[in-house]
């Protein structure tokens, strides 16, 4: 046992770091939930319980903001999933080495890109004087410049889908790379078609990657502050706008209440995933 622990302090350090992490990072998360049921004036907290903050959110329609943002983030994740899975399969299993490396690099680079720069250009391209309208006018598809490309949900969707696409492909491709090619060959040899191989081999084994990809696309898309700011025209308010305006108004309890609702919704959306996982596990155990 002594030999298995090269630096005997390892577990101790891990627990110490974990404890500090809990104090420094996880406490603020819990405090937010607590603050949402307190009153406060500016930086002064009044220690009395209230549901006022939640009632305010309902009355000012900010619940709708959360739901609309969640729907958009879900749509973005779904788009990324549908296009990302085949790309990940191609990257992990089919692509020749150089092509895989090229695409892999193309998918790494966006992490370096500044969030507002790439969005800013979309604003120029989609605007009434922009490239898209110019092309449509020149080819006589439309007669007057179209305003609805920009400052609406379409622009937001376009703005979010690109930047978060690598977040979907990365984890899926990684989990696919770990699948032994022999399993896929065996599945074919045993007479399974591509559909059966996909359903019975690739999807179950890539499930952690799929889940990771969904989380890594949905969560940042939900909290994105740049795209709604630069491409949304204020017809629909998004979560980041809402939280930021509450915070600017020094209504921290209200903003915390919003955060708490986001947590609750995220927690609830984890339930079907967990149930699904149990079913898959049970079925695999039964089979």
């Amino acid at each position: 046992m002594q030999l298995r622990r090269p630096l005997a302090a390892g577990p101790l350090i891990t627990w110490a770091v974990g404890a500090s992490w809990a104090v420094i990072v996880l406490t603020p998360l819990l405090t937010g939930v607590g603050l949402s049921v307190l009153r406060h004036r500016g930086f002064r907290i009044v220690w009395s319980l209230t549901t006022r903050n939640y009632v305010d959110l309902l009355e000012t329609g900010r619940i709708g903001v959360i739901l609309h943002t969640a729907a958009m983030a879900a749509l973005v994740s779904l788009t990324c999933l549908v296009c990302g899975f085949p790309l990940a399969v191609w990257l992990a299993k089919r692509a020749p080495g150089w092509a895989a490396q090229l695409v892999w690099m193309c998918l790494t680079l966006p992490f370096f890109l500044d969030p507002s720069a790439r969005t800013l250009v979309l604003r120029l391209v989609l605007g009434t004087n922009g490239l898209v309208n110019g092309a449509l006018l020149a080819t006589h598809v439309v007669v007057v410049p179209q305003r609805w490309f920009l400052f609406d949900d379409l622009a937001i969707w376009l703005g979010l889908v690109g930047p978060y696409f690598p977040n979907m492909v990365w984890p899926i491709a990684l989990s696919l790379m770990l699948i032994d090619d022999g399993l896929i060959d065996a599945s074919h040899d045993l007479g399974a078609g591509q559909w059966e191989t996909l359903r019975l081999v690739l999807l179950p084994l890539a499930a952690p990657g799929l889940l990771g990809g969904l989380v890594m696309t949905f969560i940042p898309a939900l909290g994105d502050s740049v795209v709604p700011d630069l491409l949304g025209g204020g017809r629909h308010e998004y979560l980041a706008d809402s939280i930021f305006s509450l915070s600017t108004a020094m209504n921290y309890a209200g903003a915390s209440a919003m955060a708490t609702i986001v947590f609750t919704l995220l927690g609830l959306s984890c339930l079907p995933v967990m149930l699904l996982r149990r079913r898959v596990v049970l079925r695999q155990a039964g089979a």
Binding site: G10, V17, G18, A100, D114, S116, L120, N129, M177, G193
Partner: protein, 265 residues
């Protein structure tokens, strides 16, 4: 029959995947083209000139945020390695509490950026009354980057054969020698990815910084403020971003290529 349909569908989706990858790059390339145009704000290229680059060199307002962001990214990158390495290598070998600890470290992945920024701000500024500053930027960026760094490290650790350490011990290597000569080189992909993620995510982080930057400005904050306000300044942003993208593209290319050579592919 189903296979035929599946093949068709997956071809269409794969094409969509390439299209989305293109959608990431089209704006960036367009930005670079516009940055050497006479009137970038018209949205059309033409009238080629480098005068906006000249104006950028004249304008010194971006150097402060740039230096601050680079400093922050370096510190965050170092912290990510310093935390992810000891935690990642001993987490899978813990006898109990593994999933609890892992879940605790990975929780920030499930918190949207703006929400995390808000909650860090309310806890430290409103509840505890501490002023925001460099320390809060570092904290917020580490909270963002550490889960990614840790995942990379855990993947590297999972490929590490622990028997090697026993063998080294049998041959008389001291614990430090075992760590430095065997674990560190073999965990290098994990260490590099932790450093990389720390640097990259910090350098481009915006939603959390919005809340915790206090009196300071990071480069993404500067660019965002310029992009949404003074339109006369916007062409400078085009040039600045083209330059940053060029530098980081070559850095990314270099790292992917060098990792690809030593990595497991």
């Amino acid at each position: 029959m189903t296979d035929r349909v599946l093949q068709g569908v997956s071809r269409v989706c794969l094409a969509g995947g390439f299209a989305l990858t293109g959608l990431i790059y089209a704006p960036v390339v367009w930005l670079a083209i516009l940055s050497v145009s006479g009137d970038p704000l018209s949205g059309y290229p033409g009238g080629w000139s480098l005068r906006w680059y000249g104006a950028l060199a004249q304008d010194g307002s971006w150097t402060g945020p740039m230096l601050r962001s680079m400093g922050l990214a370096t510190i965050v990158s170092a912290l990510c390695v310093a935390i992810a390495l000891p935690v990642g290598r001993s987490l899978p070998r813990l006898r109990r509490g593994r999933s609890l600890l892992a879940a605790g470290f990975l929780i920030p992945l499930g918190v949207p950026g703006t929400v995390m920024g808000l909650l860090l701000f309310t806890f430290y500024r409103v509840v505890l009354g501490v002023r925001m500053g460099n320390w809060s930027l570092v904290l917020a960026h580490v909270v963002l980057a550490l889960p990614f760094a840790l995942i990379g490290m855990l993947i590297a650790v999972s490929r590490f054969d622990i028997g090697l350490l026993d063998a080294a011990a049998d041959l008389g290597a001291s614990p430090w020698r075992r760590f430095l000569d065997i674990e560190c080189p073999l965990l290098m992909p994990g260490i590099v990815s932790a450093a990389l993620f720390g640097f990259l995510l910090s350098f481009t982080e915006l939603p959390r910084s919005l809340f915790v930057a206090g009196p300071y400005q990071t480069l993404p904050l500067y660019i965002w403020a310029e992009a949404s306000s003074r339109s006369g300044h916007v062409p400078l942003i085009f040039c600045l971003n083209t330059l940053i993208t060029l530098v980081s593209a070559s850095a990314a290319a270099f790292m992917v290529l060098s990792l690809g050579r030593t990595g497991p592919r």
